[in-house]
Symmetry: C2
Subunit: 436 residues, 2 copies
């Protein structure tokens, strides 16, 4: 186990010591712009501060591998850091961890170190951390697939391929936006089942989908598969993803080639990328298949995947309507799910994705699909939570929701916690709905 | 009508005067690397020569708008030229046309002009012309959709949405390759209908799809739709696309979210982008809908689209097997189709794609889907041509084909011809199948 997880390690950054998503054991990467101070560049979150990695490099205390990594951190995306490979990004995170430790020689030698390398988050804007080349969305929650399938195909909710391969489809990279970007309600063709013809109108079925995304760090050449054993080495880290969806557009358009305009109007990602290394203490066995479920084919199976292929991330969705804001009410949590409930692991998705020779490039993103669990409170989208509108949610103002209304804000959070380890979090993935 | 189409215009480049895809009326853009001479850069095809656009700029004869365009032509992709907008790329093409005209003042003043600005195609490598951000594939041929649908759903070949909206899905941008790149036979999960379980094996249903692609020149901001009237202004030009497909992988994986690994292992594009301006003389009315077909909804309809939304491009597919090459036999044409048979126009696809606010960026690519016509000889993929293998093709060697075998080369061509105009062509889009 990597020493960066040591729960006894404490940072001299005070806000990293108490309740925070970003203790010294996390150190996720992002891209920020500080108010009026320089161009967008790479940062690492620590408590309520951002480590300016380029500024760290100027201290002259980084080893060669970390210094090489820091040298591409004055750029406005993480892609260049990713391209360098795990050795470099890992060395950089390890040395920044040492620099931030309470007994760091650099801090003992210079009590003004914080002024040199930290930027308060309150004085910075967090940007899209990665230039995403291609974006893929999976469908890895068997609970989600079964719930949605049973609404549309009551006799046959789960299709025969589901337990044999991680179903996925290509999404739109251009419309990926960072947390905080408002999302305009899309228009599209909607067809009432009782009508002969569709109409073009603003969606009446706007939904979120609570997902986790994985940024690819190291790619593969076209034509070369990546074996499941080698997949995790190529993963940089995880973020939260809101795969906004328009259910009525989707229902009308999706056959036979899958979702298109129902999804590609916006996908929101959280700004901090939590590295796979930071998640090491939270690795768990892959989903336990029921008796009767098929064993994965060999290219989707490995001992390491069975034993530690899962990641125990808890994800939560909250809503805050305009009415709630006007009444001074706090957001209301509407679901809490777990990545542990996913039928397929990240390594299985990665191996499947490249099994035909398809190439990943540094900065590509793939997401899990909606994370839903067996219980009603673990359903990761409104389609499931309200059972297609049949069971509306009631909010503290007395308002009800079948789907999202204008002014609603969706707030997603994720975290890992386990006795004997430091809790780490993903920060927030937010978006408010604007009228069409 | 633009003067660059004038069929009387003749170039001093001799190879542009006879039978060629690239007379002076065409002037498509591409990216080339000349043997041992400098970095990849933008070129324009003329006969068997390539105009080195940067070299033209050095002559000092370009006007301001064209010079601005030429200034970004020492770069290895067309994206920067596209970003400048139609005014600039159009001015550049117009001035290069003048420079290449037989009575060009520049040529009359300098008989060695050719040595300064031309590179023989035989001494150059043609590269992928564009860094494709996102790639979308449509399904715009009603003949293709009906043929394929009738194989999989005999009672219900065409789904109810088909005539209301241009069905499309997102493809993979990373695996787009230029003509001439060999394509490795993909492996994947295949399930025999008589078997309980799938196997992981090389595809036995490798196919091509003959398509035309459209490169987006001018994009739109996320959240802003582009009305159909404004769509063509944002299109840079067209190329040929081979959307390689693995039919057995597709059959097993595609429900419910559409094609994924069956398509994303490779997509081949032709190297020359034929501008919409060069295609002006070949514009035709949009597809004439049958009585009983619905009228397009208003956002997919315009007078200009009805009158001139179509493009009369003929597309041909030829095969050459290893056996044919060994026997010294020429390639064999297996189909000839027409873009005129597409149910949806490019402008309708563009308007639909942005109707929900989805953003296009300069360099994005969308393709038509397989171009098939009403006749058997106009079927643009083997799935249709051999009717899922039931009617194999017989080749001059006596070999038969249900799907592609290793060593088979697929050659696609496209051209426009019409009395009173100069014929223009698209060049070739080639790829040979390598063993898994």
């Amino acid at each position: 186990m990597n020493e960066t997880h040591d729960p006894r390690r404490i940072s001299w950054v005070e806000s990293a010591q108490g309740t925070t998503d970003f203790p010294i054991q996390n150190l996720p990467f992002g891209v920020f712009r500080s108010d009026g101070r320089g161009d967008p560049r790479v940062g690492i979150a620590i408590g309520d501060q951002i480590v300016d990695v380029s500024a760290c490099a100027h201290l002259g205390r980084l080893g060669e591998s970390a210094a090489t990594a820091a040298a591409v951190c004055d750029l406005p995306v993480l892609n260049h850091l990713m391209e360098l490979g795990r050795e470099h990004w890992s060395a950089l995170r390890r040395e920044v961890s040492l620099l931030l430790t309470a007994d760091s020689p650099a801090f003992r030698a210079d009590s003004r170190l914080g002024e040199k390398i930290l930027v308060p988050k309150s004085e910075a804007e967090l940007l899209l951390p990665v230039r995403v080349g291609d974006y893929t969305d999976f469908y890895a929650s068997v609970h989600h697939a079964t719930n949605v399938g049973s609404m549309f195909r009551p006799d046959n909710p789960l299709l025969p391929n589901y337990k044999w391969l991680p179903i996925g489809y290509h999404g739109r990279a251009s419309s990926i936006v960072p947390s905080g970007t408002p999302v305009r309600r899309p228009q599209g063709q909607l067809k009432d089942p009782n009508s002969d013809a569709p109409v073009f109108a603003p969606t009446r079925g706007l939904d979120y989908e609570m997902e986790v995304g994985c940024f690819v760090g190291g790619g593969n050449a076209l034509g070369n598969s990546v074996p499941i054993e080698a997949a995790e080495e190529r993963m940089f880290g995880l973020c939260l993803v809101n795969d906004w969806s328009a259910r009525d557009i989707q229902t009308w358009e999706y056959q036979p080639l899958g979702p298109f305009l129902a999804k590609n109007f916006a996908t929101t990602v959280s700004p901090w990328v939590v590295t796979l290394e930071a998640l090491e203490p939270f690795r768990i066995p892959a989903f336990e298949r029921a008796s009767g479920d098929p064993a994965p084919l060999p290219h989707l199976d490995s001992r390491a995947n069975r034993e530690r292929g899962g990641v125990d991330v808890t994800v939560e969705v909250s809503l805050c309507t305009a009415g709630m804001r006007d009444a001074g009410l706090p957001e209301q949590r509407v679901s809490r799910g777990r990545m542990a409930d996913l039928y397929w692991t990240l390594a299985q998705m990665f191996a499947h994705h490249t099994s035909n020779g398809c190439n990943f490039q540094p900065g590509d993103l793939f997401a899990t699909g909606t994370i839903s669990g067996p219980g009603k409170d673990a359903r990761g989208c409104l389609l499931e939570l309200t059972w297609r509108g049949a069971e509306p949610l009631t909010l503290p103002t007395g308002e009800t929701r079948k789907f999202l209304e204008d002014g609603d804000e969706v707030i997603m959070r994720g975290y890992c916690e386990r006795p004997g380890t430091a809790r780490i979090g993903f920060g927030e993935c937010r978006g408010v709905v604007l009228p069409a």
